[in-house]
Symmetry: C2
Subunit: 153 residues, 2 copies
Amino acid sequence: MMDYARATTIEEVKDLTVEELDFLYDEDANSIGMLLAHFAAVEKVYQIVTFENRDDLTDEEVARLNPALDLGRPAQEIKGYPIDYYLTELAEVRAATVEKFKTLPDEWLFEQTPFWWDLPANNYFKWFHVFEDELNHRGQIRLIKKMTKKEKN
Amino acid sequence: MMDYARATTIEEVKDLTVEELDFLYDEDANSIGMLLAHFAAVEKVYQIVTFENRDDLTDEEVARLNPALDLGRPAQEIKGYPIDYYLTELAEVRAATVEKFKTLPDEWLFEQTPFWWDLPANNYFKWFHVFEDELNHRGQIRLIKKMTKKEKN
């Protein structure tokens, strides 16, 4: 499911120009480039949380993963990059995830810790959240592409 | 994962007014109401495809599930309904899905048939697609809500 989500993301963005990646449909918008950077940041969060069995990030980690993690206006500084920049970052982060997955037994997926609202969540859910966030934003990428085309015409 | 996706959809839309459900950010837009109707139509497609082991819908079924299934301008006639209209429809369709799931053995999930591009896909993938489509459009719902608020201000 993670692979499928990623494949559909890449299919959607692989031919976009820098201008299209940077397009802001209004002054509070997230660009497609910002959303791609966000996917990499979110995946790094869940590498920390699940591979290091931590329930939270340090302030330094949050600072390092931002502005891509929280998006919004501060993240609008993410611009000017070609698509390969984002795809390379995404591929590198994903490769590290898959390498680590290979070392973990299936039972690890079902290990629970207190998570959102202090309710128990297992690693399967945490990684489901990584790709459900990507799918959510992939829908937005499709909508932003439609708006970008209109702007051009 | 289907339940979680649905819970997050409902959380996003439960307090929307008819005006917000019908809001079109441009003349080719899908409104939030249209997207909610689409979720129910897509689920009905996969009930037919997976529960009746069919590889395609009849023309009559496609006509009955449209315009919600294909969205776009023809589906803009879906308007004027309060949120309960959509939520009731979604709940009824989902209840039928869950009832049928209860009668099926786990192995059913892994039964494969030729699917997109004639490649094999199992029932697990087909139902994954139902909720990945919902998550994709839930992202759009969130974006449309942001745009609706701006329009009002």
